[in-house]
């Protein structure tokens, strides 16, 4: 029950949520709601693990996972962008599809044994910083560090670059973006693909770093859905998504560790003596997601913030805009 260790492990497991949430932020900023994150993460986790077994190189596993998940996302892109179908139902279908394909192709993988994982290392100077050093920069997976880089990068890209401006325009007012010569359809396909790749990266982070292995649908255990919830809480902002992701990662870790010691805060640890209470602990991440959604939604109403205006609606050329 060392808080430093809990936070350190929490940052690692929060990285899974972070990648998925960043990907979803990008897709939703372009106006496409993709509820298939869970399915894309599953297929990413499965292909990362199986390719790493086959090749012995986890880097190839990660790259293939990103590509395969990106490919899967294009099914959703085609259905909602070109065929203009309902984004909610299509996203649900994508989750079922991704889970189903992962189960079929991942058959027997759970008995495959261990593979070489993504490397862990400490950052020389930064790891010496008191408290923050051990939490963020000591013996973390290389994927965790990639997460640190990706968050400010995504923020900068969305808010300070020209392509980012186009991305926001496409999500807020596609008819105007179209009039400016931005190819709305191509942009949406691209960001859905990017979102899929990041969800696949999140899946690979599970199977090759945080909780190595393939445990069928339990591999993700609803983390893809938590990531979708976090995006709403984050108000489509990468930094808020990062804070939420790491907090949820730490919570997951705390739930595991709190059942260990016999004495907690000087009292008999009820969770140790009555392991059945653990079932209530397991509810916490999901209950917190709901609470976080309530907070996020209330804040959105108060500050008059909102989702990207065109989120969830297909763009049909020549139709009058909203």
């Amino acid at each position: 029950m060392d808080p430093i260790i809990i936070l350190q492990a929490g940052v690692a497991s929060g990285t899974v949520l972070l990648f998925a949430a960043l990907g979803e932020v990008l897709a939703e900023r372009s106006g496409v709601l993709n509820l298939g994150v869970e399915g894309m993460m599953l297929i990413g986790a499965m292909s990362a693990f199986s390719v790493t077994i086959a090749t012995g190189n986890p880097w190839i596993g990660v790259l293939v996972a990103m590509f395969v998940a990106g490919l899967l996302s294009q099914v959703h892109a085609f259905i909602v962008i070109t065929l203009q179908a309902d984004q909610v139902v299509s996203g649900l279908a994508l989750t079922l599809l991704g889970a189903g394909i992962s189960l079929v192709l991942g058959e027997g993988l759970s008995k495959a044994g261990t593979v070489s994982l993504m490397p862990n290392f400490s950052i020389p100077l930064l790891s010496q910083i008191p408290i923050l050093g051990p939490i963020f920069f000591t013996k973390q997976s290389v994927l965790v560090y990639i997460g640190y880089l990706l968050t400010p990068l995504a923020w900068y890209y969305i808010n300070r670059t020209r392509p980012g401006l186009h991305l926001r325009a496409v999500g807020e007012y596609p008819a105007a973006a179209d009039a400016l010569g931005i190819n709305v359809f191509r942009m949406r396909y691209f960001y859905v693909f990017l979102g899929g790749m990041l969800a696949g990266l999140g899946g690979a982070t599970i199977s090759l770093a945080v909780a190595p292995g393939w445990f069928s649908e339990l591999t993700t255990g609803g983390q893809g859905w938590i990531a979708v919830g976090l995006v709403i809480f984050a108000q489509w902002d990468p930094f808020r998504a990062a804070v939420g992701s790491y907090a949820f990662g730490a919570l997951r870790r705390l739930i595991l560790d709190i059942q260990g010691p016999t004495v907690l805060f000087g009292m008999r640890n009820a969770f140790y003596y009555n392991p059945y209470l653990g079932f209530f602990l397991q509810m916490l991440p999901y209950a917190f997601t709901v609470i976080v959604l309530v907070i996020g939604s209330r804040e959105a109403i108060r500050k008059r913030l909102g989702a990207p205006a065109a989120l969830g609606t297909p763009y049909i050329r020549g139709e009058r805009g909203q």
């Binding site: 509820l35 399915g39 099914v75 085609f78 259905i79 065929l83 203009q84 179908a85 309902d86 909610v88 139902v89 299509s90 649900l92 279908a93 994508l94 989750t95 079922l96 599809l97 991704g98 889970a99 189903g100 394909i101 992962s102 189960l103 079929v104 192709l105 991942g106 058959e107 027997g108 069928s216 255990g221 609803g222 859905w225 938590i226 979708v228 919830g229 709403i232 009555n274 059945y276 079932f279 209530f280 397991q282 509810m283 999901y286 209950a287 997601t289 709901v290 959604l293 309530v294 939604s297 209330r298 959105a300 109403i301």
Partner: protein, 374 residues
């Protein structure tokens, strides 16, 4: 210019897509759905072959193991019964564009509520079937309704996205039932409760084998009647009642509904509760008619998610849901023995994808025109 003439020379005709201005012909939606399912089965077959299986053997097995004789047909209907109820639950919520994907959790809570009647016990153990079954039905529906009320209330009052909240409640329901099964009602440390007394079982066809010999060994239980009754009631609510009219209006055009003075907040909560109650009834039917005890969460076995697909395939029509549920019951029943084990789930996913994609054909007309016409 040169390029376009070139392509014209190569292609004497081209495909033209234009929006449909009129209503599509009546036969088209059904034809498109059947086409989508056939396409899905072909795609699924390719993936099965890719994973090292034999698609023809898999599909032949599904057909034989689900409709082959009266016994397996009866088992297929047993599998279809919970799907009917979860699909009805999804259909009424989807009708109002409320994306309740928590039928799975509401189903589990319904199963828990019905079990509590027997295990708590709320009704004395020596009671008759006439007391047990109605109380179990009420308890199951009530717990399902509670599990629908929470996301409904949060949606109505705080605009909380119901997709996420219903999904999160699924996981919470699983942990909740696990706690009771492991810690309170466990039978000798196993992850299941003691078996219910016979009076708490929904009657089965095989019970009447003495008077009708044909029924010997048939597992179909009275849950099917609950499902069919619920479908008929729901059909009347949706198509023949004022409330159903309000629900359809809100779903089709919330602004018009608001101007018409319809209370969307209240309807959101009521529809989510009705949806949850239907899924909860499914859970009751499963513990009362099939397993006769409370088990850990796989009791729902994805029925909640299958319900989404079935509702969509049936175009949210309660009566069509009964038929489609039987097909999916067959898929699930036969799928248990198929290797690789994920096949039924994958085929369901592919079917849903093809279905959604095929809706395009209902909104657009595809014509093949000669080059000069364009």
């Amino acid at each position: 210019m040169a390029e376009s003439t070139l392509s014209k020379q190569r292609m004497p005709w081209r495909i033209k897509i234009e929006p449909r201005l009129d209503e599509p012909p009546a036969w088209l939606p059904a034809a498109v759905s059947v086409g989508a399912i056939i396409l899905a089965l072909i795609l699924g077959g390719v993936l099965i072959a890719f994973a090292g299986g034999n698609p023809f053997a898999s599909y032949a097995h599904i057909a034989r193991a689900s409709f082959g004789d009266l016994g397996v047909l009866s088992d297929t209907i047993v599998k279809a019964t919970p799907i009917i109820l979860t699909a009805l639950a999804c259909s009424i919520a989807f009708r109002m564009k409320l994306w309740n994907i928590g039928a799975e959790g509401q189903f589990i809570m319904g199963a828990w509520g019905a079990s509590a009647v027997v295990l708590a016990p709320i009704v004395p153990a020596e009671s008759s079937r006439w007391l047990f079954i109605p109380v179990m039905i009420m308890a199951g529906m009530a717990m399902g309704a509670v599990w629908g009320f929470i996301p409904g209330y949060l949606k109505a009052k705080f605009n909380v996205n119901e997709i996420i909240s219903t999904l999160m409640l699924n996981y919470i329901a699983i942990s909740w039932v696990n706690f009771w099964v492991f810690a309170v009602w466990t039978e000798g440390g196993f992850q299941m409760s003691p078996k219910f007394p016979q009076a708490a079982w929904l009657p089965r066809l095989s019970e009447y084998a003495k008077s009708v010999p044909l029924f010997r060994g048939l597992t179909t239980h009275a849950g099917l009647l609950l499902g069919i009754a619920a479908a008929i009631v729901l059909w009347f609510i949706v198509y023949r009642s004022r409330w159903g009219y309000e629900i359809r209006l809100i779903g089709d055009n919330p602004n018009a509904a608001r101007y018409a003075g319809i209370n969307i907040t209240r309807n959101t909560i009521w529809v989510m509760m009705l949806s949850g109650a239907l899924a909860g009834l499914g859970g009751m039917s499963e513990v009362g008619g099939v397993v006769h005890r409370l088990q850990t969460a796989p009791i729902a076995a994805g029925y909640g998610f299958t319900g989404i697909i079935v509702a969509w395939l049936a175009k949210l029509n309660p009566l069509v849901i009964i038929l489609v549920s039987v097909l999916f019951g067959a898929l699930i029943l036969a799928g248990r023995e198929i290797q690789p084990s994920g096949v039924p789930k994958m085929i369901q996913g592919i079917i849903l994808v093809c279905l959604i994609a095929s809706d395009f054909l209902l909104r657009y007309r595809i014509r093949i025109v000669r080059g000069e016409e364009a």
